[in-house]
Structures are given as C-alpha cells and as structure tokens.
Point group: C3
Chain length 408, copies 3
C-alpha cells in the first residue's frame, strides 16, 4: 500500500485548559504515555512523521518519541495551529496530512485517505463527521452539494450543515497550503481554518472521508475519563504479570478483563471488576473494590476503598474512600473517609469553570480532578466536578464546593 509522504502532528499548544492536570501528552494509558502510542499508530501509514512542539515541551516530546520522528519547534512569534504549520515551512515538501496531537481517532481512516488520493488525485481531503449535537468546531458549508468552505465555531443556532471537519487534513502540496496560509489574515483564532478557506477559493479538487469511528481528545481534564474508557475497552482478556511477580490473596476476586503489571498486590476480600489497568507495584488492599478504572504505578488503594470509573496516575494513596468518575494526578493522597460526589442532585450535567468561563462537561457523572501531590484530609467532602490544584492541603472535615487553585 502507498504511504503518505508526510504526517505532521501538532503538539505545540499549552495544556492550560487541562488544569489541574499537567502535560496532557504525558498522560499514560496502559503503561505508556499517550503521544508515542499515537505515533506508533501512524507509522504504518506514513514515510515521515513530524511533531511540532513548543519551546516548553519539545525536549520532553523528543524524549518520549526517541528517534522515530523529527521534532520541530514552533516559532513562538506565531501561535495557534497556523503558527505550528508555518514553523514547518522550509522543512516539509510534497503531500502531507496534518493531525492534532490531542485527538485520538481510529487511524485506519488513513487507509481511506490513501484510496481517495490514489483514485481521485485530490488536492485536498478532509475528515468529516456527521454530528447529532452542536460541537464547537469547523462546520462545512455546502453549495449544490459541493463543499464550499468552512466556518469555525458558528453560533449554536447557525450551523450551516450537520457535517463537522475534524483536524485531519490532507494537502497534495504542503507548500501550496503554506503559501495560502501566509496570505490569510484573521483577527480570530481561526487562522488555520481560514487558510484552508483561502486554498479552497482556487477551486482545487476536494474530497472528504466520512468518519464513523470513535473520536477522543484531551482538552479538558475530564476528557481523560473518556479516553481512559477507550483504552480500557480495548482490553479483551486478562493480561497478568507472571504469577511469581504478583501477590494475590486467595479470597480476592478478579473479574476480568484486567491488565496487572509486575509487583501488584491484591489483599483479602478485595475485588477488581474489569476492564481495569493496574500498574507496577500497586497495592489493592483488603476489602478494596476497583471497578473499570486505570491505576498507575506504586499506588496504594487502601483498605475498604472503592474506586469506580476513575483514572489514577502514579503514587496515589487512598484509604477508605469512595473515588468515582475522578482523575487524580501523581502523588495525590486521600485521608480516611474522604469522599467524592459524582453527580448533581438536580440531575443536570456537571458544569466546570475553565479560564473563568463556565463549560458544560456534558457528563452526568463526574467526580473530582486533583493536581499533583495534593492531600485531602480525613472525612473531607468533595463536590462533583471540583478541580483542586497541585500541592493543596484540604483540611480534615472540609467541604470543597468549588475549584481550589494550585499552592506554592
């Protein structure tokens, strides 16, 4: 099969909306960070892969992807996606597909791209998705059933169609797109989409592939939960480390599918209901119940805990807590009896304040999101959707009703 000459993965954005969680590309799933897993999925479809990182994260990205791909540093003078693309100006020639590093698709859609390229000699191919509900992205404007242009984030009641353009754009000539992008001016943050619109004014051959697979992204911290679910759902059978590297009490119950790494201990009367991922040297103590969750390394899920549909990074320590639909960063500690609420009593979807704006999480069940090394006191009570920064101390018996900023 033909391979696409260049795939460009944009990873230059900051993780500001991801707070209180940190660098989203480092978020680990099934024991590996997200970004190199994505790169591995792209390798079969491309001759060269480029990642555009920021000044802040390019070293970390190089470390993550080693020598599989070339890392380009985004020129800090031009920001956003357009800036990332323009930073590749002199480095990439010929056809290219542009992807976003925080979007997870079933990348087999690239097979459809390749077919279209071979069959139609298209100048531009995009990935389209039929939407049932409004999504703040680029909508397709059709005219006589033909794609005319895109409009970025139209008002909710003014969507021109039900077809969304995802960020998976093929250009037969990357340099031609660059030249159109350079002459595009906009005062909004839709420079990239307007650049494509400028290209489209020239009447190139346009094709699109309708995408019906799952689509996950890591933009807000709660997105970790849906992406986690995707990875967990991919576990089909138990994958347990060698039994000599596991310590599982004879009364423990493991209802798979579960991945269990080396050094895991499971206590008496503990119960694990899959799909679950349990990282290296993590202990699931006596009477602990873990359901449909993803737990990192060196965690202690203490006695009588219940962890349900939650993502825990490494070195998390719990004791007699209920943690539901929550995301806990490295080193978070919960004292005995601290509890997360995970739905609103008015049964509405949980809201969250991000950069001073209220955002609907579209989730009816959402617990808390807690930053690195924060300690939650005994018998603390955490409201649904609360975000608590890193290094915070929540006092014993405290009720946390709204977001708590980072400390230090």
């Amino acid at each position: 099969m033909k391979k696409i000459k260049n795939i460009i993965v944009l990873a230059g954005g900051d993780s500001g909306r991801f707070w209180p969680l940190e660098n989203k590309f480092l978020t680990q799933f099934l024991g590996r960070p997200f970004l190199p897993q994505m790169i591995d999925s792209l390798i079969p479809y491309s001759e060269h892969i480029f990642i555009v990182g920021s000044k802040a994260n390019n070293r970390m990205i190089k470390e993550l992807v080693k020598n599989k791909v070339e890392v380009i540093v985004q020129d800090p003078k031009v920001d956003g996606m357009a800036g990332a693309v323009l930073s590749c100006k002199d480095k990439i020639k010929g056809e290219a597909v542009i992807l976003n590093a925080s979007d997870l698709f079933e990348f087999s859609f690239l097979t459809d791209f390749i077919k279209k390229i071979e069959e139609t000699k298209a100048d531009y191919i995009f990935l389209a998705k039929k939407t049932a509900h409004y999504f703040p992205g680029a909508y397709v404007i059709f005219s006589n059933n033909k794609v005319q242009r895109f409009v970025e984030k139209p008002p909710v009641d003014q969507t021109p169609s039900d077809i969304l353009k995802l960020v998976a754009d093929y250009f037969s000539s990357f340099q031609t797109f660059i030249s159109h992008l350079e002459k595009t001016k906009t005062i909004n943050d839709d420079h990239y989409e307007q650049g494509i619109n400028t290209l489209l004014l020239n009447k190139p051959v346009i094709e699109y592939v309708l995408y019906k697979g799952p689509w996950y992204m890591l933009k807000y911290p709660w997105h970790v939960l849906s992406m986690m679910k995707h990875f967990l759902d991919g576990i089909k059978v138990n994958k347990l480390a060698d039994s000599k590297d596991l310590t599982i009490a004879e009364t423990a119950i493991i209802q798979g599918p579960v991945i269990m790494e080396r050094g895991v201990k499971v206590g008496h009367f503990a119960k694990i209901t899959g799909p679950c991922y349990i990282g290296e040297k993590t202990t699931i103590a006596d009477y602990a119940l873990v359901r449909e969750s993803h737990i990192g390394k060196n965690c202690l899920i203490g006695s009588s805990c219940e962890v349900a549909r939650s993502y825990l990074a490494d070195n998390v320590s719990l004791h007699r807590n209920y943690v539901g639909d929550s995301v806990l960063e490295d080193g978070v500690l919960f004292g005995s009896g601290a509890v997360t609420a995970n739905f609103r009593f008015d049964e509405n979807e949980v809201q969250s304040i991000v950069k001073e704006k209220k955002v609907n999480t579209n989730m009816k069940k959402l617990g808390v999101m807690v930053g690195k090394n924060t300690k939650i006191g005994i018998n603390a009570t955490l409201y649904p959707g609360t975000k608590i920064g890193s290094n915070c101390l929540i006092f014993p018996g405290e009720v946390v009703r709204k977001d708590v900023p980072d400390k230090q």
Copy 2:
C-alpha cells in the same frame, strides 16, 4: 363457627402524624400493603366487612381491597371516629364489630368475642388490655368490679385502673349504638368513647375479652419499625425465589430466615442476617450487610452499606452508608458516607416533634425517617429521631439536627 355479621374498619383518618411518611394504609409488608393483609385476616370471622375511608383515600382503598369489602365514604362534615361510624348509619344493620384500620392485633381474639356473644348474649363487648405503663387511650372505670364507663386519655397520674379499652368494640345492635352516638355531645375529640359511655348508661349486658397478644399500630412514622419487626418475626424459614431468578455471589452469606423475591441480586462478600425481606429486583451489592430489615422493590443497597433494623420502601438507593433503625420512603437516595445516628448520647429515649408537640417515641434506638425522593448528600450526618420531608436535598457534608419540612 358463627361469624360476626358486620365488621367495620375505620380508615378515614388522615396520616398527618405519620409524616414524613405517606399514606399509612399503603405501607407494604412482605410485598403487600398493610390494609388488605388486615382484611384477609378478618374474612374468616365475618359475613360482611366494611371499610370507612375518607374522600381523599377511598378510591385508593377500593383499589387495594378490590371487591372483597364494601367501602363507605366518610361524611366530611363529621370527623373523627364518631364521624366515620355515623357515616355507616343507613348502611349497616344488626351486630357489628368496630376496628381501627391502623391497629394490628392477633385477630384470633375474635374467636373469643364470638364465644362471648354465643354464651352471654352481651349487648356490648370490648377488648381489654392490662397495661404496665401509661398509654394515652381509653381507661376503664370499674365500680364494684363492674365496668362503669371509660375515660379517654386521663392525666398520667389519674388513671382509674390499669385496664385499657382497645378499639375493638362489639355492639349487638349497631343501630342502637348509632342512636346513642347521635345524642352524645362533646367538645373534645372523644366523641366515639362518649357515645359508648352514653350507651352504657342504659345498663346493657357488658362483657370484655382480655387481650394478651401483641398490639401494633401505625400512627407515628416510627411505628413502622415495630410493625415491621412483627412481620419479620413471622418469617420462620427461608423463602427464596427460584434460583434461576436470583443472582447470588458464591461468597455471599445468607443467614436466614429470609424472604427473597424474584430478580434479587446479592454481591460478593455481602451478608444478610435474617429475619429479612428483600423485594423484587433489589440488589444487595458487594460488602453490603443487611440485618433484620425490610427492603422493598428495585432498591440498590450499594457496596459497603450496613442496613440494620430498618424499613426501606421501593427504589431506595444507598452507597457506603450506615442506616440503622430508620424508615426510608420510596426513591430516597443516600450519597456515599452519609450516616444515621440511632441513639442519644445521654441514653434517653428519642423524642420527636409531631404537630409542634414533643412526643416521646419510647425508643432508645431510633434513626431517621425520610420522605419520598429525598436525596441525602455524601458524608451527611443525620441526628437520631430526625424526620426529613419529601423531595428534600440535604447537602454534602451537612449535619441535620432537626426535622426538615417537605420541599415543593
């Protein structure tokens, strides 16, 4: 055996003192409402059974008892028991026994009534109970060892004897009693008892049957617990639905006697200690402990709950709570870590405010009584004897020290 011609069951009272619970006649025990179970107990002893309902509840009563009995609607212009009896004036002739719909006796005492009727041709027979402690009811005044009359709710230190007249009165001629009742005037709420006193002035043949069996009533909401105990104590052996209609984890422990309806699920490490009733499609989740309790349909006794000596109606959802000596109405929800206290630290009997008056529940152990669809937040703390109305939202971490009115 002779049957009594008419039994009249008075069910016209409102359930005001039963708040926050609703219609007391609908309270289900062992899968059936209380009232039709009472009627079934009476059928062997009577030719005709009448129920006097109110305007508000007579349709519901008809629905409950179907065509087994005739339902008479109480004239709203005359209230109380006397009003209920007077509403039967033109409908009932001949001998009659009058009972209260919220009193539960061992109705085999009617055999003793029938014997007395046959042996003594008495005009009036009542059911007497020797009391060790004061009870606010009708006391018998004797003179020369013969029953003279009754005094309703005498002051605590002025009881004329230790014999109480229960509401189970036989009149050889119901019409005669009606005529005496009609000519009785009283400004207190003892019209019914004064009517009997008027009848007694005529020196009829009076007999009584001394009752030694159990006596339960549904007047205050905590009475549900003693009546529940009566029904549970009647369960002598396990009665489980067909095993194909049950899902019981192999590690669960069931110490009978327990009634378990179809569709019940019992999780891992759950324990049920009888006597218990578990209604249809109710789930007792992992690590849940249920002791001497009555649980309705479609309930979720979530993981790590403990429910002890409590009555739960249908659709109740708990999670990691302790619910002790409590009554929860349909649709009540407890968030994780919410807890009921069930005794006072001063070791006194629990008091309750009913219609602005303090009432001694005479119970040393009493948890909470919660109305329909009320939601209790995570880590909420509920004082003993607290009554919480329907549709309330108790916030996470809240401490509830006194009664909470209905919402909406």
Copy 3:
C-alpha cells in the same frame, strides 16, 4: 546466683502527664496490669522488693501486687523521687537497687549488676545508656575517663557526654545514701540526682553497666503505644483459647501471631493481622480489620472498622471507624463514620500540649488519646495527636482540632 538484698520500686508519682489516660500502673498488657508484671520480672533478682506508693495509689498497688512485696506510703511532705526514697529511711537496710515503676527494661541487666557487685565490691553502680539524640535526663560528666558526677536535664547543646544515667541505681549501703540525700539541698526537682552527686563527693568505688536493650516508659499517654508494641512483639506464636470458647466465622482470616482470650467472637470477612492481643469476650465484627493492636475485654470492634497499631482498654465500642495509632480508655464509644487522622500533612512529628507546654511526641504517626467513657459522634473528625478527656461528648459531624478537657 547471689540476689540483691533490696529492690525499691518508686511508684509515688501522680499520672498528671499521662492525661487523658488514668493511673498508668493499671495499664494492662496481655491481660495483666503493667506493675505486677514488672514485679514478677524482678523477683528472680532480689530478696525483698518494696514499692513506694502515694497516699492516693497505695491501696490500689497493694491490691495489684498482693503479698509479694511490701508497699511503703510516701510521706506527702517531701515529694519527687527523693521524697519517695526518704520515706524508706527506717525500713530498709543494707544494699539496695532503686528503680522507677514506669520504666520498662530488660531486667536481665540486674545479672550484670550482681556480677559487678561480686567482682568489684563497688559502693555505687548505675545503668548507663549511650544516646544518639538528646533526652531530658541525667547525663554523666567524665573527667579523665572517670565518672565525676551527673547533670540533670542539661540544655540541649550543653550535654557533657553522650552517656545517660538511667534510673537503676545500686547502693552498697542504702542508709549511707539516705544520709547524703538528707544533707543535699536543691531548689530544682533534681534532689535525687544531687543526692547521688553528694555521695560521689566522698570518692566511693563507682561502676556502671552499659545497657543496650530496649527501654520503655509510661510518662505521656502516647508512650502506651511503644510499650504496647514491645509486648506485642513478644508474642511469637498464636495462643488461642480453647476452640469451644471461641466463635470464629469460617470466612474470617487470622494471620498470627495472635493471643485470643476466652469468649472472643470473630465475624464474617473479618481479618486480624498479628501481632495482636484480643481480650476476653471481645467481638471483632463482620468486615472488621484489626492490625498490630491490643484490645481489652468486652470490646465491640463493630462491622467495617479498621483498628491499626492501637491500644484499646476494656468495654470500647466502635462502628465503621478508622482508629489508627490511638489509645482509647475504658468505655470509649465511637459512632459510625468517626475517623482518626494519624499523621500531619506537613509530615512533621506530631506535637502535643502537656500542662500548657508543647511537647514533641517524636512520632510521625499518632492518632488520638481518649479518656474514659467518652463518646464520639457519628462522622466526627479527630485531628492527629488530639487528647480528649473523660466523659466527653463529641457531637456528630464535629471536627476536633485540639485537646478537649474532662467533663463532669
């Protein structure tokens, strides 16, 4: 082997710094009070044992030690250790070893004393301990490698050596020591040590034994925990009462070594991890987890409790609590969901206020210390290191951040 003629055990001090716990000599370990166990350890080494008690406690001491030893009542006019010793003036003659009733050593060091006595004919022998950290006791001043004198509680940066004199002093003539003690004047509370210094001015033959074994004392309430650990660590194998006197559910897990007295009940899914001592008629209920703890008689460790590294006296009643690194006196009651915190979030050692002075407990993990018959409400939250007096009522949902005085 030679025996020491007289051993004098000083037990006259009050237990003021032991608050909220009561008489420290009554503290039971492995089913017996501390003091008679100490006496039993001394019997092999001595011809006569004397205990000096106070006016307040001498009857209780007599009761404890029966007729094994002579109890001397301390003259209330002279207080402290010197007062205790002076009270023995006319009662004891010849050689004597003086010990403190609240110090626990491996008393086999007395074998070394006896050897020294026989070999060196020393006038005075003391027990020395090399210290790595400052301890507020009597330090040895050396001159030309010879013992000169002692300085009591020198400032932290002015210790004259790293050798501490423990309270285990041998005098070849008790009467000679008495005469030196009588002529010693001091305005500080170091009368006893200054008395020895006076003796030393006369250039007697001085020897010492370097002690390398464990040393425990009962001065502050948290000392119960280290002494408990000592006793528990001495349990090497399971010692269970006859199986007909125990009720252990088949699903319970007992990981020894555990001492279990008659009448103990262990519920379903309970787990006991040794070393543990479980006193007579104590119940470890369903789902309870007990680890490395010492539990007295007639206790109820209710369902779903976790008790870790804690000392519980008799008649303690818990229910769904976490009690960690804590000491609970007789009759303490915890309501459901009440929880102890046992470490500070700043990771510092826990401090405690004793007689209005801040004392460092030198413990990173320390829960609460609770006096007799105190009741802790449901969902109460107890800060680490908190001392709560006797007969207190902590309200449901209350957060206890500092010490609470006795009530009544």
